[in-house]
């Protein structure tokens, strides 16, 4: 028998966790001499109060959806993919290479090829840690951490020594051709008579991210492969007994995970910067971990959590602009969310389980 109802597990625990994180963050804001309520108002105003704010919130959310889904898919096979950052960086390289060297006539074709390239490069970067885990038992967390650093050095080399245009100081590629410009939300919403902010970077990738959420849901809960992945995640010996190959599941789950992380590049590289710059991922790979934990590894949860973190990122930028609170406050909040929803989960869970048990006994 479950100790508590499902809704408590899915909704209540994440809510309590974020509440704890919010209270601690409010104390931090108080300690540095600012007003937490005013700060929250400023964050809401700056990120949700205008289409400009929404444009940034949704832009960040798009990236976090991809990296969050990446962590979630791997997690269902009980793999902790901490390498989303590196996979997204290398995915960016894939996007940049196809967009720089193939003359596309129209952005739709470019987008399809860019998604394929991003997914392929991201999956390739996850393939080695996946193979080492599946075939040789090397801990995937450690190897993916190492691959994040290797990716950073690799990208640094490619941008400084190979892809940088002649005579440019900035370690970045050339701008992509205007043909491959992805429609921004402004351009997408004009036909509907909605005047969305022109300056905000949210773009067509948001639609792709939402489709990805749906596809991941179908994959995990509506296909045989998804069933096998979940079965393996629940019990390795049980899956083995049912004839499921651990090698196959580890490889497939990690490759899908890497492909999803890589696809983040269509948002930040193709959609926003329209060229590949150094450190283009801006830690979105790590935020994906917080998003997946917060969203309980369910695509819809990831969708909501990504928007929440998009709000935090845009709100944090506004705070840094108007108050003495630096952007790093968001890093602290993110760390607290990871701590409470991930590592200190039992601290929240144990008292709740006791409470529900006591209530049930009284009811019976």
């Amino acid at each position: 028998m479950d100790k508590m109802p499902r809704w408590a597990d899915v909704v209540l625990i994440p809510l309590i966790s974020i509440l704890l994180a919010a209270v601690l963050s409010a104390l931090v804001i108080l300690a540095i001499g600012e007003n937490p309520i005013a700060a929250l108002k400023l964050m809401v105003q700056g990120s949700l109060g205008s289409t400009y704010g929404w444009g940034y919130t949704l832009y960040y959310a798009t990236s976090f959806m991809f990296t969050g889904l990446a962590v979630a898919v791997a997690y269902h096979a009980r793999m902790f993919n901490i390498g989303g950052e590196g996979q997204a960086m290398v995915g960016g390289l894939g996007v940049a290479l196809v967009l720089l060297f193939i003359p596309f006539p129209h952005w739709t074709l470019a987008l399809v090829v860019a998604i394929a390239a991003a997914a392929l490069f991201g999956a390739a970067w996850a393939a080695i840690p996946a193979y080492l885990q599946a075939a040789r038992g090397s801990h995937v967390v450690i190897t993916t951490i190492m691959f994040n650093f290797i990716a950073a050095a690799f990208l640094n080399y490619m941008l400084v020594n190979t892809l940088r245009p002649q005579g440019a100081m900035d370690p970045a590629t050339e701008r992509f051709s205007p043909n491959v410009h992805l429609p921004t939300l402004h351009e997408m919403l004009v036909p509907f008579g909605i005047n969305f902010s022109k300056a905000a970077p949210a773009n067509f990738s948001l639609v792709v991210a939402i489709i990805a959420c749906v596809l991941v849901w179908v994959l995990i809960w509506r296909t045989k492969l998804g069933y096998e992945i979940r079965a393996y995640g629940h019990s390795e010996s049980g899956a083995l007994y049912a004839g499921i190959s651990p090698f196959k599941i580890i490889m497939i789950a990690m490759l899908i995970s890497g492909a999803l992380a890589g696809c983040m590049a269509i948002n930040n590289v193709m959609g926003e910067a329209e060229r590949l710059v150094l450190n283009a991922t801006e830690n979105a790979g790590f935020i994906g971990i917080a998003v997946a934990l917060m969203g309980r590894n369910h695509p819809f949860g990831v969708f909501l959590a990504a928007i929440l973190f998009g709000f935090l990122y845009q709100g944090g930028a506004e705070l840094a602009l108007w108050t003495s609170i630096p952007r790093e406050l968001i890093t602290v909040i993110q760390a607290l969310v990871i701590l409470f929803t991930g590592a200190l989960d039992n601290m929240v869970r144990m008292p709740l389980e006791k409470l529900f048990l006591a209530m049930r006994r009284r009811g019976a």
């Binding site: 931090v28 300690a31 540095i32 001499g33 902790f80 901490i82 080695i128 840690p129 080492l132 040789r136 038992g137 090397s138 801990h139 967390v141 450690i142 190897t143 951490i145 190492m146 691959f147 650093f149 290797i150 050095a153 690799f154 640094n156 080399y157 400084v160 020594n161 790590f286 971990i289 934990l293 003495s324 609170i325 630096p326 790093e328 406050l329 968001i330 890093t331 602290v332 909040i333 993110q334 760390a335 607290l336 990871i338 701590l339 991930g342 590592a343 200190l344 989960d345 039992n346 601290m347 144990m350």
Partner: protein
């Protein structure tokens, strides 16, 4: 490369090895007791900030070192609370600790000093200075041995000598004392330790606290000895290189020393040369940056002697009822 350049590179190797070695030994205690720690980076970062901040305000580097150790131990305690008391995921906890330190150090630095997330630069008594070993000046003119003794071995801060002395000490503690035996046992088979009537929780917490103290010294070394003050994200991945060295050393103290010296040498070379020309083949500096990680993956893959972690590592211990 002439002899003097070689001495300079090796001297820089020793300076850069020190924080790696301290963090690596910190991780060694923790992981040998069965608590994975990917939060070495965060603990070092927190210690680097608080030691620089307190050293600046008080003017005493020793108070700074103390503050650094305390801040690192607090984070260790948090990691212990999550992974021992509440049996949470140790990897997630380590990651959260690192992020917490990354955000918190800049937040507090900005609030206290308003210099864009850094501390003012330290000088005088607020820094660890080099110690000239006896006879260094007398021996300096002697060919070959003179420069080695005077330039390479002498003239480092006390924390450098402490770090190197900790290697034999750690070996002795782990392999020649009762505490060390129990510590290793709790990382391999906690149930056996529990049956023998020794507290698993107590042992694991003491390992995690030792880890915090050593990370604290490593962080203090970074901001008060290697450099003069704290800057944002100044650990720059050293905690992860130390973790790589720990795996490279297969969780053994003497091997940890060699691994850290190797990775320190790579850093020293990368710092000095932009690219290296090896008879027509140019090795770019980025390869030097990535080499510790690549070597670790190769070792982890088990192609060159398999690295097997302590058997109970990462598993929370649940007493049977």
């Amino acid at each position: 490369m002439d002899f003097l350049t070689l001495i300079q590179v090796l001297d820089s190797t020793i300076r850069l090895t020190t924080p790696l070695l301290l963090a690596c030994l910190a991780g060694l205690y923790s992981e040998r007791a069965g608590i994975f720690d990917i939060g070495l980076e965060g603990k070092m970062l927190a210690a680097a900030f608080f030691s620089a901040a307190v050293a600046y305000v008080s003017g005493s580097v020793w108070l700074g070192l103390g503050a650094g150790i305390v801040s690192s131990v607090v984070l260790s305690g948090l990691h212990g609370l999550a992974s021992i008391t509440f049996r949470g995921n140790q990897l997630i906890s380590g990651l959260a600790v690192t992020m917490l330190a990354q955000g918190f150090t800049v937040l507090v630095a900005q609030d206290w000093f308003s210099q864009g997330g850094r501390t003012p630069s330290l000088s005088g008594g607020a820094r660890f200075t080099g110690i000239t070993l006896p006879f260094a000046d007398t021996l300096a003119p002697v060919p070959f041995i003179g420069p080695i003794y005077a330039e390479l071995i002498s003239g480092h801060s006390i924390l450098v000598y402490l770090a190197f002395a900790l290697v034999p000490l750690t070996w002795w503690v782990l392999f020649r004392t009762r505490f060390g035996l129990r510590l290793r046992a709790v990382g391999e088979n906690p149930a056996a330790v529990d049956t023998a009537g020794v507290s698993v929780t107590g042992l694991r917490f003491s390992a995690v606290i030792i880890c915090g103290v050593l990370c604290g010294i490593a962080g203090a070394y970074l901001s008060t000895a290697l450099q003069a003050g704290f800057v944002k994200e100044m650990t720059a991945g050293r905690g992860y290189i130390a973790l790589a060295a720990l795996i490279f050393a297969k969780w053994r103290p003497w091997h940890a020393l060699w691994a850290c010296l190797l990775f320190g040498l790579l850093q020293a070379i990368a710092l000095r040369y932009q690219s290296i020309n090896l008879g027509g083949i140019v090795i770019p500096v980025q390869v030097m940056d990535a080499l510790p990680y690549i070597l670790t993956v190769v070792i982890l893959a088990g192609f060159v002697g398999k690295a097997i972690p302590p058997r109970a590592g990462g598993e929370p211990y649940v007493k049977e009822r």
